[in-house]
């Protein structure tokens, strides 16, 4: 029996059509697109086509608004650092507590360099307070960076409204959309978003390719200076094969957009309902009514996520967890902490993220596999007794270090 891969928010399988489209660019079409001769010229044409495919997926007005980068993280760093460089008089950044480390680590570093960083808090369902956000918009803000969808819970953020609010106040707005692109229909030309990050490997393109969408007219300072590639906005010889791959992946994502929001969503809902029906003391984290169609994040109380993953892995099911142990840090996921999920549940969160390759049979297998694994670990847990948590008066209360 083949293994079941439900960790598509971490990375995805490269689409077979993408692989086929890429292959010639390692061998026959190896030219440098900057060269005048025919070897380079054909590659240049292929890149142009790929750029247009990405433009179409994002609904950008111009293909020159698409800047290829090496990954989503590079796009994030480029966006934020550019805003600070281009507007040196502005010293404040607004972001959220639940961003990906690609944003949070950079912002923490910038805070240590003297910038002011406001991290918007979230409520128990992972939602932002827009009134509080409005009150922070000032002339000192260089950039607002808010993710389109959260990678752990799939919760969607109102980035279109937030971008409009920033734009009205004359402030640049960036969104890390690596989880949303390909799953959420977009039409950036009708939005007030200035910059947006894409990561190829989240939508069945290879790893090592990303995009920064840069609205025409947005003041910009490159992260990498050098050659004239990407119109001087991102120097460095183009990763031609991967760009071609991302172009095909963008076309395919557009073609599967409806499938993603109907069939994939149906399977996700089935998986979630099936697991919750069979496992007591488990709940969905984030905002179930407003999230990506492919993501289910379930907290299993009184047990620990890494142990769950190891046992799932043993029966051929791949998922991920917000537990401390899976990350090598001592704290459980900052996203779970931010939503005020109790420690005994935060450590036991498991994220199942589906893709267009996920089948009904796979979902059925997971629904069957999870309950006994949870029961097995609860039997070992000091917080669990018989069929439920230890009663309050006998509750396990260890000496905390």
């Amino acid at each position: 029996m083949a293994d079941v891969y439900l960790d598509n928010n971490a990375t995805t399988r490269v689409d077979e059509e993408v692989v086929q489209a890429m292959l010639p660019f390692f061998t026959e079409q190896f030219g440098n697109p900057s060269s005048l001769h025919s070897f380079g010229n054909q590659v240049g044409m292929a890149l142009k086509k790929a750029r247009q495919s990405v433009q179409k997926l994002l609904g950008a007005e111009h293909d020159s608004e698409i800047v290829f980068t090496s990954c989503g993280t590079e796009a994030d760093s480029t966006a934020i650092l550019s805003a600070l460089k281009a507007q040196p008089e502005r010293k404040t950044i607004i972001t959220t507590v639940v961003e990906h480390p690609a944003i949070l680590s950079l912002c923490d570093y910038l805070a240590s360099e003297g910038y002011t960083v406001h991290k918007l808090a979230v409520d128990k369902k992972g939602r932002l307070d827009l009134d509080h956000y409005a009150s922070l918009l000032s002339d000192d803000v260089a950039i607002v960076s808010v993710m389109w969808a959260n990678n752990e819970t799939g919760t969607l953020f109102p980035v279109l409204e937030m971008a409009q609010m920033a734009d009205d106040a004359g402030i640049m707005f960036h969104t890390d959309a690596v989880q949303a692109v390909g799953k959420v229909p977009m039409n950036l030309q009708d939005s007030a978003i200035h910059m947006l990050s894409v990561s190829g490997h989240k939508l069945h393109a290879p790893k090592g390719i990303g995009v920064l969408y840069l609205r025409r007219g947005t003041r910009f300072r490159p992260l990498l200076r050098g050659g004239h590639q990407e119109r001087g906005r991102r120097a460095g010889t183009e990763n031609a094969a991967s760009i071609v791959g991302l172009g095909v992946a963008a076309e395919r994502a557009l073609a599967f957009m409806e499938h993603e929001n109907t069939e994939v969503k149906r399977l996700r809902d089935k998986l979630e309902a099936g697991v919750l029906a069979a496992v007591p003391y488990a709940f969905v984290t984030g905002d179930p009514d407003n999230r990506l169609p492919n993501t289910a994040n379930i907290a299993f109380e009184y047990i620990e996520g890494e142990a769950i993953l190891l046992l799932l892995n043993k029966v051929g099911i791949a998922a991920s967890s917000g537990s401390a142990c899976t990350s090598g840090s001592l704290e459980p996921s900052h996203v779970m902490r931010a939503m005020d999920i109790p420690y005994t549940a935060a450590h036991g969160t498991v994220r199942f993220s589906l893709s267009r390759y996920t089948t009904e049979e796979e979902v059925d297998r997971v629904i069957a596999a999870v309950p006994p694994i949870v029961a097995q670990l609860r039997k070992l847990s000091p917080y669990w007794s018989g069929n439920g948590p230890v009663e309050a008066d006998k509750a396990f209360a260890p000496v905390y270090a």
Partner: protein, 320 residues
């Protein structure tokens, strides 16, 4: 996924002694829920002999926390309470054929649960001064609390100092940014400014590598080197001097659960055996060259330190 040993997997998939022991007369509850681990250890101890008759665990934690708990219960059954208390967290890790550095705290938790259970059995109050922070150095599993406290206690001011006192930063050096950050904060707290050492790719700088001459955090007696060693020593004097040098290095090695043993001296060749955690350590060759350097300085002549493998050493003397 983590690089767990087969032994860890075995104890995780099929844990021994899971669940509470009936008629337990010693219970130890420990944990640090923020890092996702909590453990209840229950023991049944014979009050007449102090022998642990049965042990059981209940653990909220990851694979290695469950494996460490299972290992601990297997190790202590049949021991007296005093014998059991001699088990260190390193012993638990060794029993499991090692744990990844990020997971060593799981074995620490096992040991703490044992201490707590014994305190409970004896009706004592357990003083818990253990505290841990985020891991800074992954090569040697040193956390931020340890780095910070060592900087404070010893008034350290450079990355090299931190490496010498804690080993943090002595491996791949990727954590030097983190150590510099802690140094900057700690120096600021005592009214000083952190200044980094000049960057040098090559040269005499010893930075970054474990220095055997480093003072131990506890006041260690520095080897009273009588300057200008006599030009000619008898063979016996020479061997005694070599032993003295090894003796002065030993505490440093033992701090890291390693040890060194002198096997033979043959002219310029000094045959030694590294034992315990030193065997298979990434830093073993550094350790040897450090020993060689100290010997050359002490003896005032060139010697070559040659490691003897455990197998070869067995011929020379009984295996330890």
């Amino acid at each position: 996924m983590w690089d767990y040993s087969e032994k860890v997997k075995e104890h995780f998939y099929n844990p021994k002694n899971a669940g509470a022991v009936a008629e337990a007369n010693a219970i130890g509850d420990v944990g640090s829920l923020s890092c996702g681990d909590a453990l209840r250890l229950t023991l049944k101890v014979d009050p007449a002999t102090d022998v642990i008759l049965d042990a059981g665990f209940q653990t909220f934690g990851c694979g290695s926390a469950i494996a460490s708990s299972s290992a601990l219960t297997e190790m202590i059954k049949g021991l007296t309470v005093d014998e059991a208390l001699k088990i260190s967290n390193q012993d638990i890790a060794d029993f499991l054929d090692g744990l990844p550095p990020e997971k060593m705290h799981c074995s620490v938790m096992g040991r703490e649960a044992l201490q707590a259970a014994v305190a409970n059995y004896r009706g004592e109050e357990l003083e818990d001064d253990h505290e841990e922070g985020a891991l800074i150095c992954k090569c040697f599993a040193i956390d931020e609390v340890m780095v910070r406290e060592t900087i404070r206690a010893n008034n350290l001011s450079s990355v090299e100092d931190v490496t010498n006192y804690t080993k943090a930063g002595g491996g791949c050096s990727a954590c030097h940014e983190g150590i510099e950050r802690v140094l900057t904060e700690e120096l600021a707290a005592r009214g000083e400014v952190f200044v980094a050492a000049p960057t040098k790719a090559k040269g005499k700088s010893k930075s970054g590598l474990v220095n055997l001459n480093a003072p131990a955090p506890a006041p260690a007696a520095p080897a009273p080197a009588e300057a200008a060693p006599a030009p000619k020593m008898t063979n016996l004097q020479r061997i005694r001097r070599i032993e003295m040098v090894l003796e002065s290095i030993r505490p440093t090695l033992q701090r890291d659960h390693g040890d060194v043993e002198l096997l033979e001296v043959d002219g310029k060749n000094v045959y030694v055996k590294l034992t315990g955690a030193c065997t298979g350590c990434q830093m073993a060759s550094m350790t040897l060259s450090g020993i060689q350097q100290r010997l050359i300085e002490e003896l005032g002549e060139f010697v070559k330190v040659i490691p003897v493998s455990a197998a070869a050493a067995a011929h020379a003397q009984l295996e330890v």
